[in-house]
Amino acid sequence: MRMPVADPGLVSRRAEFLGALRKLVPGEGVIGTPEELAAYECDGLTAYRQPPLAVVLPADTAQVAAVLVYCHSQGLKVVPRGSGTSLSGGALPLADAIVLGLGKLNRVLEIDYANRCVIAQPGVTNLAITQAVAERGFYYAPDPSSQVACSIGGNVAENSGGVHCLKYGMTTNNVLGVEMVLIDGSIVRLGGRVYDAPGYDLLGIVTGSEGLLGVVTEVTVRILPRPEHQQALLIGFPSIEAAGSCVAQIIGNGLIPAGVEMMDRLAIQAAEAFVHAGYPLDVEALLIVEFDGPRAEIEEHVRIVESLAAHCGADHLRVSASERERLQFWAGRKAAFPAVGRISPDYYCMDGTIPRHCLPQVLRRINQMSQAYGLAVANVFHAGDGNLHPLILYDASHADELEKAERFGAEILTLCVEVGGVLTGEHGVGVEKRDLMEVQFQPPDLEQQQRLKCAFDADGLLNPGKVFPHLCRCAELGRVHVHAGALRFPDLPRF
């Protein structure tokens, strides 16, 4: 993975930067020793590591603003970081950049039941928000699998999803407002506790912007009343096609389950061996279909799904009879990643989205690729919304296997785009899928996105080297001249 070349002029001024930053963030807020920096050298995408110039841990919005004012004045790059759980390398440091960690901003500031929202600092974990409002029967809907650790600020940066987003939406559909510091230190509030905001929908554009547009210092999310009841079905099928067809029929019949998860044979076997969830081992595909809501509604939905599943040739079906059993159905799915980790020294998790009806075709092609590359694949799939997570099994101790796994992964994502899907459904582009952006987007598409970046950060100081395969030159992009879609800047550095 090529990253922007470090500026030796900046690297050589490290001591000066550390001194100045320590004045802005006193106490233990600036980290500079190699031992301590090592803890920040990667995020959840551990294949790439790079210690930053320094790590700065501000304690409030004013300190964030002061740090950004200073960095802006010095041309010093900034990599914002929440809990560091990104699977796409969104918080991968640069040798000539500081990491701006928001972990100290970790308080729930206000719970506003009258307006059904929570105001939290960005370092509060996703799960902590739900825990803060659980006693009054509320919860925060987006539930990425890292919810114990991932921060709400990071969720905003990545527009995180989870297993329930078909019904409840992603982060962007559940955030009402943010306070954000721009690279020049100005503090803006986008949205608030109301349902819409005047002017352009900047909150919508900032959510999922992967730390390229500003640093979020406060988040307001809406909270929902807990559904009266939840029930899940565990359904086994003799083929992926049959399982896929069942999902299509569920949705085609007007049902929107709270979650629909699919696992293929290898994932089922690995999960069952790990947590003994009671999964059938003689099936090719397993569905977990969960409904939530009033009991009367769930009962009716479960009956409809039972009948559709039978019609689609399901050869195994259980309906959770208790909360314990429902959680047991989920235990295997939730442990699928570590379960695959037990059967392979390393695995590489992909994250494309496809139109659901292409699933059988895509899985067939993935199996062919698997044979060609000589690397096994386990598939778990947010089947309701078409978000595919193939786990490529490899062994990093073999010289060429990581590189092979990455090529395999790139081929899978290219296939997702070919069938009408996208590179990433919830993990973000980061550095991981950056160089594939041109598979999904034409040059003018990327230019328009980069122009937006220029409106927020004309010097390109915020999280450079992420999302876009070329650094952009805002002055050139801003010039008006009609052209025929030719590659505008053939001389631009690619990395």
Binding site: Y113, R116, G137, E158, C165, L166, G169, M170, T172, N173, R189, G192, V194, Y195, D196, A197, P198, G199, Y200, D201, L202, G204, I205, T207, G208, S209, P227, A248, G252, G254, I256, G293, R295, A296, E297, E300, T353, R356, H382, G386, N387, G420, G421, T424, G425, G428, V429, K433, F441, Q442, D445, Q448, Q449, L452, K453, A455, F456, G478, V480, V482
Partner: protein, 409 residues
């Protein structure tokens, strides 16, 4: 008279924009012209007529996505979706009646560009939440695409969200993709009678905090309730709570709500399917203030917790008719005619009582009033500067709908 450029496909749209750019001419982007009364009045060199840029291009019910050219009539989209028992969950309001025009004339592109959500906003979101992908031409005369055609996508910046509600000031859209959802087979409405504003807002908040999945919560004071077709004959205030889904589920939740809300002192009556649909269309479309009328209508997006105090404060200075939607978080007010539509008072009270995040939009006023006021909530400070910079990165020559949102933008 401004000249008219008519386009029928993406290539012609790009050519038309290139012509505008070459000639340094501004244009108003017009579909079926049903929403021209929204925002500031325009004076442009040309009209860019996109009404022939229409037709559904892809509809995959099982994938929950529909792509269409933006000039497609909403009525076509609605009918097509209804055939598959689906709908646009964001319930686009149609302000035709409010403006004293014929209703039912808008386009899909128009409703996305305006960006307003209907009564289902708190539970199902606004157009922004359902706008998945877009193709368009920016003010550099460059065709570009953003987003995608799948319901779950975080690849690159979410430009469709930026275009939703941008009133055509950033780009000319040539194709849009929206998320579509199963339409609820059954809709019922629990009506509670005779509550004052404070009781009603408290009750709506309680209902929205219950697991009953209330998908609409509106309150009409007595002065307004009787005038709504769906509530004919109501002599006292009416608080309406909507429930949607399978009939059994709706009935069970209706009973649950009745029991939960009983201590509030009203047993309530239930509206069936047809009457419910009529009522909520009236709520979405602000039919209570149907025009034509010289009385200005304001839409205030506020914290529900501030709703009662806010309307009380306005009433101290002005005679006004009003109702609440979104459980009190949306306040519609009709005021006496005035040259500036009382914008000073409305905005001052909105900010002081409603909170710093509250804002007021003048949705109905005649052209001269709209020209002399800020129909849309003004932006200040770094947010205004950022908005200018964003406009410049999409449309640096300010060709599109110049001045519609803000002077000069």
């Amino acid at each position: 008279m401004p000249s008219t450029l008519r386009v029928t496909d993406a290539r012609e749209t790009q050519q038309a924009v290139a012509e505008l750019l070459d000639g340094g001419r501004t244009a108003e982007i017009v579909g079926r012209a049903s929403r021209r009364s929204y925002g500031r009045p325009l004076q442009t060199d040309a009209l860019l007529d996109v009404s022939a840029l229409d037709g559904i291009t892809v509809y995959e019910p099982a994938e929950l996505v529909l792509s269409a050219r933006p000039g497609s009539p909403l009525s076509l989209i609605r009918t097509t979706l209804a055939e598959q028992r689906q709908h646009l969950a964001f319930e686009p309001p149609d302000f035709g009646r409010l403006w004293g025009q014929a209703p039912g004339c808008g386009t899909l592109g128009g409703c996305l560009s305006l960006g307003a959500g209907g009564p289902r906003r708190p539970s199902a979101g606004a157009p922004r939440d359902h706008f998945l992908g877009v193709k368009g031409v920016n003010g550099f005369a460059q065709a570009f695409a953003a987003g995608g055609r799948v319901v779950k996508n975080v690849t690159g910046f979410d430009l469709p969200k930026l275009l939703a509600g941008s009133l055509g000031t950033l780009a000319v859209m040539t194709e849009v993709t929206v998320k579509v959802m199963p339409a609820p087979p059954c809709t019922k409405t629990l009506l509670l009678h005779g509550l004052d504003d404070a009781q009603a807002v408290a009750l709506m908040s309680d209902a929205l905090s219950s697991p009953a999945a209330v998908s609409g919560a509106a309150h009409f004071p007595a002065a307004l309730a009787g005038g709504l077709p769906g509530l004919q004959g109501a002599s006292a205030a009416v608080t309406a709570l909507r429930l949607e889904g399978l009939e059994r589920s709706v009935n069970a939740r209706l009973e649950h709500l009745r029991q939960r809300l009983a201590p509030a002192g009203s047993d309530g009556t239930a509206l069936g399917d047809d009457a419910s649909r009529q009522l909520w269309t009236d709520v979405a479309d602000v039919a209570a203030f149907a025009g034509p009328s010289e009385r200005p209508v304001w839409r205030l997006s506020i914290r529900a917790s501030a709703a009662v105090e806010l309307i009380r404060t306005v009433q101290e200075s002005l005679e006004c008719r009003y109702f609440f939607d979104w459980g009190g978080a949306l306040l519609w007010m009709e005021l006496p005619p005035e040259a500036l539509a009382h914008q000073g008072l409305v905005r001052e009270v909105c900010m002081r009582v409603g909170g710093t995040d509250a804002h007021a939009t003048l949705v109905r006023a005649n052209e001269s009033v709209r020209a002399n006021t800020s129909p849309l909530p003004p932006l200040v400070g770094p947010l205004a500067a950022l908005t200018e910079r964003i406009k410049a990165q999409f449309d640096p020559q300010r060709l599109f709908n110049r001045g519609r949102m803000y002077p000069g933008l």
